[in-house]
Every structure is written in C-alpha cells, then in structure tokens.
C-alpha cells in the first residue's frame, strides 16, 4: 500500500514537472525534479563552466605578448569575462546540490569533460582573432537556444553569457579584419589561423546526429532545440560569407554554395581527430589540466588562510557580543 502511494505521489510530481516544462515555465532549484534531470544538468552545466575556465588558458597565453595596449586590455577583459561566466555557471550548478570543490575535482581527475577546442595551442596573435571569430561564433550558436532552456538558473546565466560572447565574437572578427587590411605578413598570419581553427570549430558543434547520444531527452528538456548537424550548417552558412569579406579562403576544397538547398555543402570532418582529442590526446590536454590543477593546488594554503581568518573574525565578534 505504502509503495503504491509513493509511486502515485511520484507520478504526480513528474506530471507537475513535465507540465511546467511544456508550459515553458522554469524549473527552479527548490522544485522537485527527476534524478536524471538533475544529473544531466550537473553534467552539462559543469562541462560548460569548465570550458569557460579552461578556455581562459589558450587566450591567456597571449596577454603578456599582445601587440598593442588597446588589444592587451581588450584581451584581458575578455579572459576576465570568461572567468565571470565560469563563476555564474558554477553557481548555477551548485544550486543542484554539488559543491565547487567536487566540480573542480571532477575536472582535475579527468572525470568531467570540457570543450575540446581548448586543447589546441594558440601559436600566433591571429589565433586570438580566430578564436573570437570562430570559437565564440560556434559557441554562440550552441548557446543561444539555452537562454530559454527549462532550468532557471542555467537559462538566466546563459542570457548574460550570450550577450558577452557576441561582443567577443565581434571583437575577434575585428582583429581578423585589422590583420586582413594590414601587411602581407599579417594577412598570411590570419589565413594560417583560419586554416588551423576552421575544422576544430566545426567539431565544436558536436558529433554528427547519428553518433550523438542524449539528443531526444535533451530536446524535451529544452537543453537542445536543433540537432548538431543543423547547428553546424547554421555556423557554416553564417561564417563563410564573413571569411569572404575578410578575403580569406576557408580550408575546405569541397566547400560550395548549393543553390538548391540554399546552404553551403562542405567536406568530410576528421572525426578520428575529434575523438582522439576528446579522449585526451590533443596537443594541450595534459597542459591545460595540469595548469588548472596546479593553480588549485598551489592556492590551497591561500584558501585555508582566508577560512582561518574568517573563523577568527567570527570568534572575535561573538566574544565582543557576549
């Protein structure tokens, strides 16, 4: 009898939950939610937060060498924004009942993933432009639909993130534009960066639909509105004309506008490379994780000091109050 009642209650909770999502109302942390919903969101939000934090590193690599004061300041501000995004997203994730320490631990131990694009090295200043233009461009396409996802804290964080990302994207494109209006050396630098970042950016939109897991469930929870292949097509259709304006050549011999479909046809993606980088074999996977882990480990005594100090202050206040 008891069991029966529980099941009924559960059913009714699930009904309320699903009705809410259907009505496009937000699920809030205090609301009841299925365990799978909670777990999926922890996985996706934390993966997203980790991507912001790890993403600080390849760009951070050029802060000390930025070619002008204006660009140095803009790059610093951009990387700082990424730290900010990380912060909102970790906070959103924490509302699901997981601690920041645990999230970091998952990143450092390799249990949690982050966007594979950040495992490629930044080799020249043009890479900073290309990352803004292409990587942020692809990220926006992935992220804009999340502004109306079902989990409230995530949706609200994404509104802010997307606004800043599109600023970054324009800034990156402007770096590319400046290079392309510059000397031959600068144009070559820009072309070289496009050559290296193009394919990894396409891979950012995720594996092809037939390889992709969780899609149906994610659609239902509004974590996803389009398939990976649709998003990829959207990215290509939007980006190729931008490359044309820059006077750069997209490194794909098969790329061609298709008058019938109204979309660009494009060449085969090297999924072998994609999966190898996901598995940890990219040029910088080890470096990125060890930079993060190092920062965390070397910061332990600082965090301990802050806690110890705060405890002492509270103790003093209590004593004074007595």
């Amino acid at each position: 009898m008891e069991n029966m009642k529980e099941k009924e209650q559960m059913k009714s909770l699930e009904d309320i939950f699903e009705a809410k999502i259907a009505r496009d109302e937000k699920i809030e942390p205090k609301d009841w939610m299925p365990e799978k919903y909670r777990k999926t969101h922890i996985r996706q939000i934390s993966q997203h937060a980790h991507s912001e934090i790890v993403g600080m590193l390849p760009e951070g690599n050029w802060i000390t060498r930025a070619p002008s004061l204006r660009r140095k300041v803009a790059l610093l501000a951009k990387v700082q924004d990424e730290a900010g995004h990380g912060l909102y997203l970790y906070s959103a994730c924490e509302t699901l009942g997981i601690s920041r320490e645990e999230l970091y631990h998952q990143l450092h131990s390799g249990k949690a993933k982050y966007s594979s694009i950040f495992n490629y090295p930044t080799l020249t200043w043009a890479d900073i432009g290309a990352i803004g233009w292409l990587v942020d461009g692809a990220a926006i396409i992935n992220q804009v639909p999340l502004c109306s996802t079902s989990f409230g804290p995530y949706a609200r964080a994404m509104v802010r993130v997307c606004k800043e990302e599109s600023f970054h994207q324009r800034q990156g494109y402007e770096i590319m534009m400046t290079l392309c209006n510059g000397t031959q050396e600068q144009k070559d630098m820009a072309q070289d960066a496009l050559n290296r970042w193009w394919w990894p950016s396409l891979m950012m939109l995720g594996p092809t639909d037939d390889e992709s897991t969780h899609t149906e469930q994610s659609m239902k929870w509004k974590l996803k509105r389009k398939t990976n292949d649709e998003l990829r097509q959207q990215f290509i259709d939007q980006t190729v004309p931008q490359a044309d304006i820059l006077g750069l050549k997209v490194p794909d011999e098969d790329l061609k506008y298709n008058n019938e479909t109204g979309h660009y046809d494009f060449g085969e993606i090297d999924w072998e490379e994609f999966w190898q980088v996901v598995k940890g074999h990219g040029m910088c996977n080890k470096e990125r994780i060890s930079a993060r882990k190092n920062a965390w480990d070397k910061g332990e005594w600082v965090r301990d000091a802050a806690i110890a100090y705060a405890d002492k202050q509270t103790e003093k206040e209590v004593k004074e109050a007595v």
């Binding site: 951070g60 002008s68 610093l76 910061g299």
Partner: protein, 251 residues
C-alpha cells in the same frame, strides 16, 4: 621645466602601472580562486588603462610623431623608469599581495596629491584613478590581513614576502632631477611629504595582520634611473615581442 622633464616624470609614474599591470597579467587564469582571478585581472585592467592615459599624454608632448604603443613597447630596458618593486616576480600569492599592497598605498597617496596638480591632464587622470586604486588598496590590504592572521603557513609566507619586498619600498620616495623640476613647477608631486604617512599606514596594517616590521637599514634602488633587476629583461622580451618582430604595423 622642459617637456623632457615632464615626459620623464610621467615615465616615473606610468611605467609602474605598465609593469605591475604586465606582472599581474601573467597570473590571469592561474589564481587560487576564480574570485581572486577576477579581482586581480580588474586591477591589471585599471593599471593598464591608467598607463594608456599617461602615454597618450606623452605622445602629445613628444616632438616626434609617436603613439601610446611606441611609448609602451619600443623603449629599451634602460629607458623604463619603474621602481624595482613592481618588476619583482610572482613568487607566490603572498609576494603578489605584499607587492601590491606596498605599491597601492603609495599609489593612492601619490594620486591624492596629483589631483591638486596645476596640470589638467594629471588632475583628470588622478581623479579617475583614485577610485580604482582605493579599491586595489582595500583588496590587497584585506588579503594581507587574511594571510598574516590566517594559518601558521600563510603567516610564514606573508612574513617572508614582507621581509623580501620591504627593501624596495624606499625607492618609491626617491626623486630624480626631473621629478624635482616638475614638482617645483607645481605639476608634479613631492612624494617625500607623505613618506612618514606611508610607513605609518603600512606599519599599522602589518601590525593588524600580526606580522613583524622588518628591521632594514639598506634599501634597494635603481629602477627610477633605469637600472633594473635581471627580471626586467625577460618581462620586456615577452611584452615587446610582437612590436619588435613586426615593426610599423597596425593591430
């Protein structure tokens, strides 16, 4: 007071902001928490923003057709006039905080005076910067208290940083001949007038942070005359890399 006096005076102020901004920039993405990372990056942004204002003014004053970037990136090491304190390395978070605090208190007092300069450019820059630097000072001071009065380990590290960096504080109050001329003209600041107040302030905070005041009689100097520590060359080889490798281009 010649234009050259004025330019050199500006270097003596702005190069501190540039080099400290550069040093803090190295840390971006490597701090002990996300929150300190964001705060430190903010300070770097403020300092580099101030640097730009000063260097734009230098470019105006210069008889040559130069930009803020020429001033920032195309001088040789001996031409940078920052104090030795700001070029000291990011040894650990205690060094970072102590270096910052020792500089911030000075920087704040300097700007307070510079606000009353007869020069409108200096007035404007000082006014804008004061808000920023008053925040820096609070941030670094608060952290110094946390480190000094935190755990046994943090106290030791903070004390070591204080002991090692204290020798660089005196140079903040050295005045070159350029500085003297610009101060006499009512444009610049006679920094010696707040030296006592400076040491009172930092001593008081060190005491609150339960740290010892170093007993030092011999101080380091050189930066204000362009004689730097061996760290400086490596700061510059990164910082100038692009401008040196690709001369005369727009970015």
């Amino acid at each position: 007071m010649t234009n050259e006096n004025l330019i050199q005076y500006i270097y003596g102020i702005a190069d501190n902001s540039l080099i400290l901004g550069q040093r803090i920039s190295e840390l971006c993405g490597h701090g002990p928490t996300l929150e300190t990372d964001i705060a430190m990056t903010n300070m770097a942004l403020d300092l580099l923003g101030q640097t730009r204002s000063y260097y734009q003014y230098v470019a105006e004053l210069s008889s040559k057709d130069i930009t803020e970037d020429d001033v920032a990136f195309l001088r040789t090491e001996r031409e940078y006039k920052n104090v030795l304190l700001v070029e000291q390395p990011n040894t650990d978070f205690a060094y970072i905080i102590v270096r910052q605090y020792f500089f911030d208190v000075f920087h704040f007092m300097l700007l307070k005076e510079l606000e009353n300069s007869k020069n409108v450019n200096f007035q404007a820059i000082a006014k804008k910067s004061l808000k920023e630097v008053s925040y820096h000072k609070r941030f670094s001071g608060d952290w110094l208290k946390r480190l000094g009065d935190g755990t046994e380990e943090s106290k030791q590290k903070a004390q070591k940083a204080v002991d090692d960096l204290w020798v660089y504080t005196d140079e903040l109050f050295h005045m070159t001949d350029h500085d003297k001329k610009v101060a006499e003209a009512g444009y610049g600041v006679d920094v010696t007038i707040f030296k006592t107040a400076y040491y009172e302030t930092i001593t008081a905070l060190l005491k609150e942070a339960t740290l010892n005041i170093p007993d030092v009689k011999y101080f380091q100097k050189g930066g204000k005359n362009g004689i730097h520590t061996e760290h400086m060359g490596f700061i510059l080889s990164d910082m100038q890399y692009m401008q040196r490798t690709y001369p005369d281009m727009k970015w």
